[in-house]
């Protein structure tokens, strides 16, 4: 297909299908890990605090730290997503708000094969104590559990009550993927799709194929939301992408090389399995 998925952060992600496991590189996180989200040009506002939105106190005792707790909770969620290495799923928090994540899902087989669906995850601002996050496809996918108008996936049926410590955002993403491989028609958001699936498999299938085609034809469209971290696609451009791809692969092969410059190195003369200092004989370090 020759299609490139490129995150607009100038770090194009490689996706030629089949490399499901390689996609989540730690480099990905680097953008998000920094808390200081203060836009450089943001002028400090000198209005008294009370004028602003009422503080969200669900999380902490000190009002002013609440946003920090929320931000870090979300970053924790994000690192967890990375850890899961969900096949075919990419997400990236928005630049403007940690509560909005952009994502794309690649369907590799089954009815929805070759589908590339962009979506957005909306996390309630009283996270983790509120409702479960919403997942909305940019283009409503023809699917029993996807609202044909808003594109929202029925996530709530899987997470009737969002429980802190038990439920995590990666599970929502995982659920979004499963939905395309194992189709459930009970209490559908799109009754038409549900009925078709039950009654006329062929027609359902052709509608899905049409939907996938339609979706893919819009792949290179500008992102719906104007956000520097929004996911956008562009045709493969060797001048841009070859080098980026090369860099990604070299980084994979020698992850340590990356840190060499920092020159921070610890010391150890402890033999593995021992708790004695200097138990390693003739340590290779020296």
């Amino acid at each position: 297909e020759g299609v490139t998925c490129s995150l607009s952060t100038a770090r194009p992600d490689e996706e030629q299908g089949g490399h499901a496991d390689q996609k989540t590189s730690p480099a990905r996180t680097s953008h998000k890990k920094h808390l200081p989200p203060i836009p450089k040009n943001a002028v400090p506002i000198t209005k008294p605090a009370s004028v602003g939105t009422p503080s969200h106190l669900a999380n902490g005792t000190h009002a002013s730290y609440g946003p920090f707790y929320l931000e870090y909770s979300l970053m924790a969620e994000f690192t967890l997503v990375i850890k899961q290495k969900l096949p075919g799923i990419y997400v990236q928090p928005s630049y403007k708000s940690a509560l909005m994540w952009f994502g794309v899902i690649f369907i590799r087989h089954g009815l929805y094969q070759d589908g590339v669906f962009k979506f957005t995850v909306y996390i309630p601002d009283n996270y983790p104590d509120g409702e479960c996050p919403k997942l909305v496809f940019d283009t409503p996918v023809f699917h029993p559990l996807v609202d044909p108008v808003s594109g929202e996936l029925d996530v709530k049926r899987a997470f009737t009550k969002w429980r802190r410590n038990h439920n995590h955002i990666w599970q929502v993403l995982m659920y979004a993927r499963t939905v395309f491989y194992k189709i459930n028609t009970a209490e559908p958001l799109n009754p038409e799709a549900a009925v078709l699936y039950e009654k006329d498999g062929q027609l359902f299938k052709s509608k899905v194929v049409d939907g996938v085609k339609l979706c893919n034809s819009h792949l290179f469209d500008q992102p719906k939301v104007d956000d520097p971290f929004a996911i956008s696609f562009s045709p493969w451009n060797p001048a841009v992408h070859d080098e980026a791809k090369e860099r990604m692969f070299t980084f994979k092969r020698r992850p340590e090389e990356h840190h060499k410059g920092a020159q921070v190195s610890g010391l150890s003369w402890v033999k593995p399995g021992s708790t004695q200092p200097f138990s390693k004989v003739d340590s290779p370090q020296s």
Binding site: T53, S55, P67, K83, G266, L267, K271
Partner: protein, 985 residues
């Protein structure tokens, strides 16, 4: 004179003259000159040998067969004539290009054939071989070697006389000759380094004279520890040879087996160390660490550091065999015999000074194996059967500067990210996991998903420090736009009708929920987060070389139950293995006092020229290197009795905890509390009686222990009581164990009751001990700790059974009561007293704790930062200690109306100070490897406060406390992210 002319004749000038002159003419001129020289030479040849090539072996200046004029002084005109000719000849030789295909040029060939250089050398011997003459010859060679256009040293007729000259200079004392000699040697080493093929020749040449030798090397050794240029040149030259040794087995073997290089280096350190000031004049009370500005002013220290740096460099570049030998000698020839006793000197100032030196040394070392040597000395060496580490840890608890200097040392140690250090300091106590409830083990690895621990920490912020209470200019709570939505966010929740809006506005589907647009945040907290992020990520990276994760599974807690945790073997194995590597020859010599003393007789042949150590300026008569670690002699009382005795003495001695009776935290807290309460009174008491330092229990201290050189400050007097090192050794032995035990228990009773009584009485309002509930707990625990049975079977019989657990950590470390180690104990107890600590102490203390908190090991991280972890009742957590401090602060602020004002003043003061430091510190930051973390402390005196005195420690401590909470909270938050980012592969 010739030398001066030779030396002044610069190459450019000469080449101008010679340019265009054809080689043949040069050759003819050279030969003519030589013919003239030979005439004069032969006229005065004592042997009047018909041979054209006299060799040194037949020279005997004392016996001759010729006429009188052959032995008489050489007329000046003849001498200067020779000089003039030689001068010209040398220029011709220097300027000659090598012949075709790299073969010798004609002049050089002639020089070699005629053995010109050797004959000239003999001539100089024939004349009076004065220092001046040596200088001349050395300069001549220096110029030849340095400026010749073709390689000269490959040719024996040139090399041999050079070697003879060098060896004849070996005993030289004249500084000018020495300087020239070293310069020439340095030059030769440079050539060697560039062209190692000559190396063989240097060895062979020596063999001709009956010894396997490497003359230029041996000649350099005496200058190793010299100050100034000579020393530096010698060290540079030696380093060149050291890097040669890495590739050349023969050089390495020679250095290790036939020279005193390593012992000279190591014992030289000892010698230089002994010339360091035993007491530092510290600039002020806050001083706690030797910065560059400090040691640059101390020439002897500069010299020591130069030599240490040289050792470091040698270890870096030399062959492994040399490295091993040197490291072994440093351990056995410097650390054990010199530094260990120095760390146990009699007075507080001396011990403090040694500690500061040790800290500086550690920071100066960059080579891993040298660092390993120092660290294994600290961690495993026992001085009088107490681990150095234990002694150092216990000193954190001393008041005055020894305490802070010791803390600074630990800041350095922790900054190494060294598994062995962290293991001994803390991790070994956490591995068994008996500091927590059994069910909690899985919690160790749990992640603080929702920043609950961080929030709990921040919730300890005293009400008086809440940002709302700060007046505007100090409001760290700057209004910062948190949301990334930009200025146009707020209208996000407006219309939810259109689905496929591609508008520039934020997603208008009604799903957008940016965090509130204008939230005012604590800006300083962002900085803490940023710092936390940096320190944690570098720590994580550094700890990748560690052997285990320390996550309550690896190493498995079951395997290391209390008492099972292995004890390090007596004396580091390093000592023994290293000693094995030292050749027997050297060991036997070492016993008889290396490297000076009488010249080694038997080995003299093998070590020709090496007796030139006489030139070594270092007067080393230090303790000879010991072959084995000292063991207790059988005549001494059993170890456990000695230890008990020590314990008791220490209790008598005003409860300064020298030998770490940290059988559990409570004990430590009690002792510290007693000490603190007694100090003030004690100081007053001593004032009345300068001759004796009475203690609460009626005993007196000999005044010799009270430092005499201090003015008349209360503190100086009080030092006597804390200075227990000396007392330990002077203690009168107690006859019978039983008797002793009785006394001991009595003492504890007295101390206990007195301590309590006095504490209540002597406490200022600040010093209130914790809360009533905890006090009760302590009492209970106290009791238990003295009656609990020791589970170990191999211990001696009952009379001592009850106190077994008080045994010093040196003999055995098994704690049936959950114990998180002396280091944590001591830190916590100092932290608990935060309000009475001076500002600089608190800065150091919180700095160390923050350093520890940045470590990613789940055991340590959860112990320090996880507020959800349930500990055993007897184990105190950092959170608990902080909570105690908070309640002290709340109490204080409630009782003082002006407290908020003072806090504001203190904040102003600290900010001003910070600003002045960042301003002055831009240029020369001390490049040590441990980060100063942007902390406020430096050795220079702070600007004087305007509105508030530093004596109001509680005010400063309160400000610092609130900041420390932010720091810890930020670290906790960053851990929840950084420690869980998957590492590739």
């Amino acid at each position: 004179m010739m030398a001066s002319v030779v030396a002044n004749g610069n190459q450019d000038g000469q080449s101008l003259v010679l340019n265009g002159v054809d080689p043949e003419t040069c050759m003819i001129v050279f030969k003519n000159h030589w013919a003239q020289v030979v005439k004069i030479l032969e006229k005065h040849d004592p042997l009047r040998s018909s041979s054209m090539h006299p060799t040194l072996s037949v020279i005997n200046l004392g016996v001759g067969s010729g006429g009188v004029h052959r032995f008489g002084p050489i007329p000046g005109d003849e001498a200067s004539a020779v000089q003039n000719y030689v001068e010209h000849m040398l220029f011709l030789l220097m300027e000659e290009e090598s012949g075709q295909g790299g073969c010798m040029g004609p002049i050089l060939e002639f020089v070699v054939m005629e053995n010109v250089m050797e004959r000239l050398f003999v001539w100089s011997l024939r004349r009076e071989f004065t220092d001046e003459m040596k200088l001349e010859q050395l300069k001549m060679y220096e110029m030849l070697v340095g400026q010749a256009r073709q390689p000269l040293l490959h040719h024996k007729p040139i090399l041999r006389p050079l070697m003879m000259l060098l060896s004849s200079c070996s005993g030289t004392a004249a500084p000018a000759v020495e300087a020239e000699l070293v310069l020439l040697l340095n030059q030769l080493c440079c050539i060697l380094a560039k062209d190692p093929s000559i190396l063989e020749l240097f060895f062979h040449t020596s063999e001709d004279q009956g010894a396997t030798n490497f003359l230029i090397f041996s000649l350099l050794i005496p200058y190793i520890h010299r100050e100034g240029t000579v020393g530096q040149q010698a060290r540079d030259a030696l380093l060149l040879i050291m890097s040669l040794s890495a590739e050349n087995e023969r050089v390495a073997r020679h250095v290790v087996e036939n020279t005193y290089f390593c012992p000279v280096l190591a014992t030289g350190l000892s010698g230089l160390y002994s010339s360091l000031p035993t007491k530092l004049e510290v600039p002020n009370e806050e001083w706690h660490c030797l910065h560059k500005v400090d040691w640059m002013r101390m020439p002897s220290l500069v010299q020591f550091l130069n030599s240490l740096e040289f050792c470091n460099a040698v270890i870096q570049v030399a062959h492994p065999s040399i490295k091993d030998q040197l490291v072994a000698y440093i351990y056995n020839g410097f650390l054990v015999p010199v530094l260990a006793p120095a760390l146990h000197k009699l007075t507080l100032e001396e011990v403090m000074t040694t500690t500061a030196y040790l800290d500086l040394f550690l920071r100066s070392i960059s080579e891993t194996s040298l660092l390993q040597t120092f660290l294994s000395f600290i961690l495993l060496h026992q001085h009088e059967s107490v681990y150095i580490l234990d002694t150092l840890v216990s000193r954190i608890n001393t008041p005055f500067q020894l305490g802070t200097v010791s803390m600074a040392l630990f800041r350095t140690l922790i900054g190494f990210y060294c598994e062995d250090v962290m293991l001994q300091l803390i991790l070994r106590y956490l591995i068994p996991c008996n500091h927590m409830m059994l069910s909690q083990r899985r919690v160790v690895r749990e992640r603080d998903f929702y920043s609950t621990s961080a929030a709990k920490m921040l919730a300890l912020t005293p009400s008086c420090c809440s940002p709302d209470h700060s007046p505007p200019p100090l409001r760290q709570l700057d209004s910062i736009l948190f949301s990334k939505g930009g200025a146009d966010t707020p209208n996000s929740s407006s219309t939810a009708d259109e689905q496929k809006s591609f508008s520039e506005e934020d997603d208008s589907s009604g799903n957008s929920c940016t965090i509130g647009s204008e939230i005012y945040l604590d800006v300083s907290y962002l900085h803490y987060l940023y710092d936390a992020r940096l320190s944690i990520s570098s720590c994580i990276r550094a700890c990748q070389v560690w052997s285990a994760l320390y996550d309550a599974e690896d190493p498995p807690p079951e395997k290391y139950q209390p008492g099972v945790l292995e004890e390090p073997k007596l004396e580091g194995r390093q000592t023994q293995t290293a000693l094995k590597r030292v050749p027997k020859l050297l060991v036997s010599n070492a016993r008889s006092g290396l490297p000076r003393g009488e010249p080694p007789s038997i080995h003299q042949l093998e070590l020709e020229w090496d007796d030139s150590y006489d030139a070594c300026p270092v007067q080393t008569t230090e303790t000879p290197v010991e072959g084995k670690p000292a063991h207790l002699s059988p005549s001494e009382p059993p170890k456990h009795i000695q230890e008990m005795r020590r314990t008791a003495i220490m209790l008598v001695k005003g409860s300064y905890i020298e030998e770490n009776e940290f059988q559990d935290d409570v004990m430590v807290y009690n002792l510290v509390a007693k000490k603190d309460s007694s100090e003030a009174e004690h100081a007053e008491e001593t004032q009345s009686d300068p001759a004796h330092a009475p203690l609460r229990n009626g005993l007196t201290l000999p005044t010799s222990l009270v430092s005499d050189n201090d003015k008349n400050s209360l503190k100086a007097k009080a030092k006597g009581q804390t200075d227990c090192n000396g007392n330990l050794q002077n203690a009168t032995p107690v006859e019978s164990g039983e008797d002793f035990l009785a006394q001991y228990e009595e003492l504890i009773c007295i101390l206990d009751s007195e301590g309590r009584g006095k504490r209540v009485k002597g406490d200022r309002e600040l010093n209130k001990p914790v809360s009533p509930v905890e006090e009760e707990e302590e009492e209970e625990m106290d009791f238990m700790s003295f009656t609990a049975e020791t589970p170990e079977p191999e211990k001696l019989q009952s009379p001592f059974g009850t106190v077994q657990r008080l045994r010093s950590g040196s003999s055995n470390r098994c704690y049936s009561v959950p114990f998180t180690g002396p280091f944590i104990s001591v830190l916590f107890s100092r932290l608990e007293n935060m309000l009475t600590n001076p500002l600089h102490v608190n800065l150091l203390l919180t700095g160390i704790l923050a350093q520890l908190a940045a470590y990613p090991q789940p055991l340590l991280r959860s112990f320090l930062l996880n507020t959800n972890l349930v500990f055993q009742p007897t184990v105190r957590s950092l959170y608990q200690v902080l909570a105690t401090v908070k309640s002290q602060i709340e109490e204080l602020s409630a009782s003082r109306l002006d407290f908020p004002e003072r806090i504001t003043a203190a904040q102003h003061w600290l900010l001003a100070r910070e600003a002045s430091f960042t301003a002055t510190d831009k240029g020369g930051s001390c490049g040590s490897r441990q980060q100063d973390g942007g902390r406020i402390l430096k050795s220079s005196p702070p600007p004087k406060p305007k509105a508030i005195s530093l004596d109001q420690t509680e005010v400063f401590a309160t400000v610092l406390f609130a900041e420390f909470l932010k720091e810890l909270s930020a670290i906790t938050q960053e851990h929840s992210i950084l420690s869980y980012i998957p590492v590739e592969e």
